[in-house]
């Protein structure tokens, strides 16, 4: 039995402790917004927050998240998270959409660290998130836009 706090809710799961967090989220907790893309920390589709850090949940054993706070896209309700979602919608970022929740989870960490990220900051933070549809131009634009929204909703 492993206890974690997911999106503010305490949950107990009965799984092999080596099971990657990704599959616990998707299969045990039915949180399907976190995606499987590579299973090897190569693509970022499975990005979630564990105690405020972006992690690739496909390679993090659930035991390593025991007792920690896990946030998924479904629980990304902090103001900068809401700004990111709004900016993503304004810029119509997604194409197929499969990578996008992971992109947003990575961007959320960036916005927490930098109120006004530069292009170089965005490059450094987002390099681990692959988008096969190559929506990168809009991802960059949406991060800038979200930062502006979070700073004071400049339109």
């Amino acid at each position: 039995m492993i206890t974690l706090e997911v999106n503010g809710r305490s949950v107990v799961v009965d799984v092999d402790p080596g099971t990657p967090l990704l599959w616990v989220l998707r299969e045990n907790l039915q949180l399907m917004g976190t995606k499987y893309g590579c299973g090897a920390a190569q693509c970022g589709s499975c990005t979630v927050h564990v105690d405020g850090n972006a992690v690739r949940s496909c390679v993090l054993p659930v035991s390593a998240a025991a007792g920690k706070k896990v946030t998924t896209i479904e629980g990304l309700t902090e103001p900068s998270g809401a700004a990111l979602k709004q900016a993503w919608i304004e810029l119509d970022v997604p194409q197929c959409g499969y990578c996008q929740t992971g992109q947003i989870m990575s961007a959320a960490i960036l916005l927490r660290q930098k109120r006004q990220p530069s292009d170089a900051d965005i490059d450094a933070c987002m390099g681990g998130n692959v988008c096969r549809c190559a929506t990168y131009v809009r991802i960059r634009g949406a991060i800038h836009r979200a930062a502006a929204l979070a700073r004071g909703g400049a339109r």
Binding site: Y36, R132, C133
Partner: protein, 713 residues
């Protein structure tokens, strides 16, 4: 391909049990739709209006990122005069009524969705609108001509009466279907051509969009499959005791295409598969290697092949002029959609339900029925969102669908089959590897007098049901498209083809044949320009006289990129232009070298794709095409050694990353022509534009993709 869909007629309408209305084109039978809980003005085949005024558009296409749900909803809503804020969509069931107007099966491909479905969707909206007007006019006892529609309501301005579509739905459903309903003139369009936010964005941002991998059923098992290491392999002996000993593993079954491990969840299935011991018969593919294939293709390129196109006397031209020769090579490529292949199957004694991100519903449905041993009527295929397709989810062999159904047959429980990323890269279906040998003759003035292009590679179409339609006189049109129909005015041309037989499964991959021919044609033309000291733009301009749409995008991209001005210090520009899928795209890339590796700073694109439905979608598709094509040119190759694919994940089948993405400017040529392709045409010209820029930068010509560091030094 051109489609004549303008004269399609609505053949019937009928009241549904729910009091709704059904509109269909040449309909054999109404798709089986469950009775909605609320009375609806009619589902089907393309539009349904609820009593509360909500409009549901039925989408017969796969949404794999190209924005088709929004574009088709827009054209229908335009003619319906619907309230855009009340529009929703859902994916169509499998039914002949939803067939592609050109191919006759339900499918998404060839960048034809907008081209094929715009007129039918407009008509679907126009007929629904006409019936709602009739219903209102009768209710009010006024002439129809005095009624107007806007914002999802019918109004009678003279009396000030107004009724929402929802209120009129039940009455409209009882009316006969009118014939020859006129469509709005373009001047009255309010939606078509206006940038419109996508209907699927919010769900994709919030994580609630359902891909097939997200479908869960009670009691469902997860299956991972150990595929043979070669494409001709079969399991000879399976030792599964260790696999079965993994807690959560339920069963191990040989389904022919591989050995499936069924478990209560992905992780036990993965652990079980890791512990599975299979002795494989490798079959004839065991000796395959990319290096040997390259040698073989090179030899074939020296011999005459089947003639795909011939004009004038190329041998005479080559004997007389100054001759340039080159060989170009491209590798096998995987589609690598971000969502790896997967499929959910619920197979019962006399029914089968399938959830898949299918681009090929008619084919997948029939293949699933055959594999399940059930009549088609007992099989239901639900199309979900696709986490990328690029052609991979349109397989005439329905490989992963059939595999999943076979597993479900053995499982006696609902099954979600997931291919890991490694399975997705290794278990087949690739853009073929190609070798091209080109020769051109020039006269003293630099005019090209002869052009010879020999193409060597596998046919995608051979052995599929598409063969009669797409292979003529031994020539697979998809092998030579973009080469045999060379746009440049050259008097003596010969394009010939060697179709090889190699036991590597191949499939269309975003832009199909154009993905290799444009690289060859546009690179070699640049070689000729350099050798004859001509500006690449001027040379193309000269050879494209009279080809107004190609010239139009070429001039536009050149002007917008500042082609005639020097590039910033340390950078060079490269140009390419290519027609495909009835559209025209020109690209200028501005490139430098950073630590010996290409860095693309800026991409300027011009496109003519006819009338634009949703301008944001056109821009998005071209932005994406640039990144997709740069990934390919810089990094992508599937290679074989001892018959086995060498790549296994994104570390060795690398994708472009955000920091490598250039700024992209897209310029759209205004047009009133029929809308044409946009999902694919942006891809072909990007690789040659990149290599042409690198030539200007380094003096080295790249004739083989992906680019290698040593080609630049």
């Amino acid at each position: 391909m051109t489609l004549d869909v303008s004269r399609r007629e609505f053949l019937r309408v009928s009241a549904t049990a729910a009091g709704g209305m059904l509109i269909a084109f040449r309909v054999p039978a109404a798709p089986a739709t469950p009775t909605p809980p609320e009375p609806e003005f009619a589902p089907n085949a393309f539009v349904r209006i609820a009593a509360d005024g909500r409009v549901t558009v039925i989408i017969n296409k796969a949404e794999m990122g190209q924005g088709i749900c929004t574009s088709l909803s827009m054209v229908l809503a335009e003619e319906l005069d619907a309230d855009w804020s009340r529009i929703g969509f859902e994916f169509a069931p499998v039914d002949p009524v939803y067939a592609h107007p050109g191919f006759g099966i339900q499918m998404t491909g060839g960048s034809t969705s907008t081209m094929g479905m715009t007129e039918p969707m407009r008509q679907a909206g126009a007929v629904a609108r006409a019936m709602l007007v009739t219903a209102a006019a009768r209710r009010w006892g006024v002439p129809e001509a005095d009624c107007a529609t806007a914002g999802g309501a019918v109004a009678h301005p003279r009396s000030g009466r107004r009724a929402g579509y929802g209120e009129l739905a039940a009455a409209a459903a009882r009316l006969p279907v009118p014939d020859g309903v006129p469509l709005k003139p373009a001047a009255q369009w309010k939606l078509i051509g206006r940038p419109t936010p996508r209907l699927d964005t919010r769900a994709k941002v919030e994580g609630s969009a359902v891909f097939s991998i997200d479908v869960n059923l009670p009691g469902m098992l997860t299956a991972l499959v150990a595929h043979p290491p070669t494409f001709t392999g079969r399991a000879r002996r399976i030792r599964d005791a260790a696999a079965r000993a993994v807690p959560g593993v339920v069963d191990v079954v040989d389904v022919g295409s591989g050995v499936a491990v069924l478990a209560k969840g992905f992780w036990p299935a993965k652990l079980g598969r890791d512990r599975l011991e299979v002795e494989w018969d490798l079959g004839e593919a065991a000796t395959l290697s990319s290096e040997a294939l390259r040698q073989h293709y090179r030899e074939l390129a020296g011999r005459p092949g089947l003639v795909a196109h011939k004009a004038g006397d190329v041998d005479a031209a080559l004997a007389a002029g100054r001759v340039l020769r080159a060989d170009y090579e491209v590798p096998y490529l995987a589609h690598a959609p971000m969502e790896p292949l997967n499929c959910v199957v619920d197979l019962r004694a006399d029914s089968c339900e399938i959830w898949a991100g299918s681009q090929f519903q008619t084919v997948d449905h029939a293949a699933a029925a055959a594999a399940a041993g059930l009549p088609g009527a007992k099989v239901k295929l639900h199309t979900t969102f696709l986490g990328g397709g690029f052609g991979r989810r349109a397989n005439p062999a329905s490989d992963y669908i059939v595999e999943a159904v076979k597993i479900a047959k053995a499982a006696k429980a609902p099954v979600k089959m997931i291919w890991t990323r490694t399975d997705d890269l290794r278990a087949g279906y690739y853009r073929p590897m190609w070798h091209s040998r080109v020769a051109a003759a020039c006269d003293e003035a630099g005019a090209i007098t002869g052009w010879r292009h020999t193409i060597v590679g596998q046919s995608i179409i051979a052995g599929t049901p598409f063969e009669p339609m797409m292979i003529k006189d031994g020539i697979d049109s998809t092998s030579v498209e973009g080469a045999a129909d060379l746009a440049y005015a050259i008097p003596n041309v010969l394009v010939d083809l060697h179709t090889t037989k190699v036991p590597v499964p191949t499939l269309w991959w975003r832009s199909v044949g154009h993905s290799h021919t444009a690289f060859v044609v546009e690179s070699f033309l640049d070689e000729i320009a350099a050798a004859t000291r001509q500006d690449p733009l001027a040379l193309r301009r000269r050879l494209l006289q009279g080809k107004d749409r190609l010239l139009g995008v070429l001039e536009l991209a050149a002007a917008k990129s500042g082609w005639s001005t020097p590039a910033p210090a340390g950078r060079a520009r490269g140009l390419a232009v290519h027609p495909s899928f009835n559209s025209f795209v020109a690209v200028v890339l501005e490139v430098s070298l950073e630590r010996g590796w290409p860095r693309v700073h800026r991409a300027t694109l011009a496109v003519d794709c006819g009338r634009t439905i949703n301008p944001g979608t056109v821009t998005a598709q071209l932005e994406g095409a640039v990144g997709f094509a740069l990934s390919t040119a810089l990094y992508s190759a599937i290679t074989l050694a001892d018959g086995q694919v060498e790549q296994s994940n994104f570390h060795d089948y690398r994708m472009l990353r955000l920091h490598e993405m250039p700024a992209v400017d897209v310029h759209v040529v205004p047009s009133e022509a029929q809308p044409t392709g946009i999902g694919e045409p942006g891809v072909p010209p990007v690789a040659p534009a990149l290599c042409n820029a690198l030539f200007r930068l380094t003096g080295r010509r790249i004739r083989r993709l992906p680019i290698r560091r040593e080609d630049l030094a």
